[in-house]
Subunit: 318 residues, 2 copies
Amino acid sequence: MIDAPTFADVRAAADRIRGHAHRTPVLTSRRVDDEVGAQLFFKCENLQRMGAFKFRGAFNALSRFEEEQRRNGVVAYSSGNHAQAIALAGRILGIPATIVMPHDAPASKIAATEGYGATVVRYDRYTEDREAIGAALAAERGLTLIPPYDHPDVIAGQGTATLELLEDVGELDALYLPLGGGGLSSGAALAARALSPSCQVFGVEPEAGDDVRQSIRSGRIVHIPAPSTIADGAQTQHPGEITFPILQRELTDVLTATDDELVDAMRVFAATLKIVVEPTGCLGFAAARRAAPAGKRVGVLISGGNVDLDRFAALIAG
Amino acid sequence: MIDAPTFADVRAAADRIRGHAHRTPVLTSRRVDDEVGAQLFFKCENLQRMGAFKFRGAFNALSRFEEEQRRNGVVAYSSGNHAQAIALAGRILGIPATIVMPHDAPASKIAATEGYGATVVRYDRYTEDREAIGAALAAERGLTLIPPYDHPDVIAGQGTATLELLEDVGELDALYLPLGGGGLSSGAALAARALSPSCQVFGVEPEAGDDVRQSIRSGRIVHIPAPSTIADGAQTQHPGEITFPILQRELTDVLTATDDELVDAMRVFAATLKIVVEPTGCLGFAAARRAAPAGKRVGVLISGGNVDLDRFAALIAG
């Protein structure tokens, strides 16, 4: 049994990533506030290094490697941003990285991962099991497996985004987070409970893949088929053994957003906030637009901005 | 003869706009730095209120109105962002605004200007003279004309963007600025001379409309025909009576960028920095990519992000 991470781990992670991760800006827009009827604070992890919050957890995890782990290297499986994050963190720390990626991952994410010097091993997301492939590579080659979300150092690292948000803007009434496997949300919940205890924390899943909502309702981890959604970073099939109890305990509720709502949010981000956000990164805002408590101070975490330009152009052109 | 603005006026403007304008973030990207071979600091005025630096100068100018001026109102002519800036500043300060806009201004800019409660008067950019129309409205209705760049309060306000950049990142070796009528560049030059005296300051015009370059080479203000370029915020036909002597004295050089270079820069902004930048806003970066001094600390001012989404999508899709 791995110890669950605590807020102290989030604080320690913040110290480790300082000077390596960007302290991303918090943007506000009175126009969006008027539309939503609340005061929104957007934590822009699309402006993070390699374009997503995942760098935080990856760098925190790799920076805790022992000497032999560093020498042998790291292996990770990922639908995209975790891959780039491990690859970049590995390059910075001098740790060789092997990444197991689905064959249909966005071309920009595969190219970026290879661009950071990692070795990419592809698999079929619909017929093969990435966790088994990752575990086999780890056993055969002595690599340390860093999973995309179910790891205490990854969770603690992801929590630093919310730590910074709360340090920058003070306490919030509600917080809306993209929810895939729960690494971001469980880290965020740890930070929110410590720094803004009365803040309601909402995880937002794609409607097509509400594995966390189903799991919380069932009181146990539910596995779902690989969901079909444009939110490619939240196509997870189940929450983690470590993230689930935290989510179960800390989340106020799990909400969902449709692909149409994600595209609409993406258009508002581009037109009004002037930022590029990938579909998964729109989950928090898509729900906050519908559900934010009137007149309250609301945090919205934008998880990433890694979307192929042609696809982005096609989506925002409507 | 109007007194030319000084750095003290920029400082005073910074005090006036505080709490009304955003202190916009400065973004960096190691990937872009590697490509360019210099350390770039992007001052993101596309993330400014109403989407462009123009809010700074407009708010500074209107906040200096006397009681009678406030009551009668302001008139402005603009190809876009100055219009929205005056409209928004007018709304905040309770000053009625009338805006003279070209009939072919981007639909989003006209809609935004009207959305801020201003009255829009349209004219034909190729056959009519907006300055004459603005002057006539001012005379007939007792309105105070605030021109888009040739006004000391506007220049001082625009200088605050560079003031903030230099406060945030320290001294720079070079600074690249979009150059239209010279309001942004002359204000920036005042700030740079005071806070980073050895910084080279480059204004960057669209290749199709190099009125400032021609003017500096001739030693007098040169008027050119309305240029055809996608940089709709820099389609100026001549520098101003106040801006020209400052530009002549302070600019290290005037560079140009082609429309193709602007589109290419726009794609890098979207793909790597994850931000939406209008064509005019890409001028500084387009030149910096070619010309930034190797290994040096280089500021790049991004002037705005107001571009219709469909047009943006078409441009970045290539």
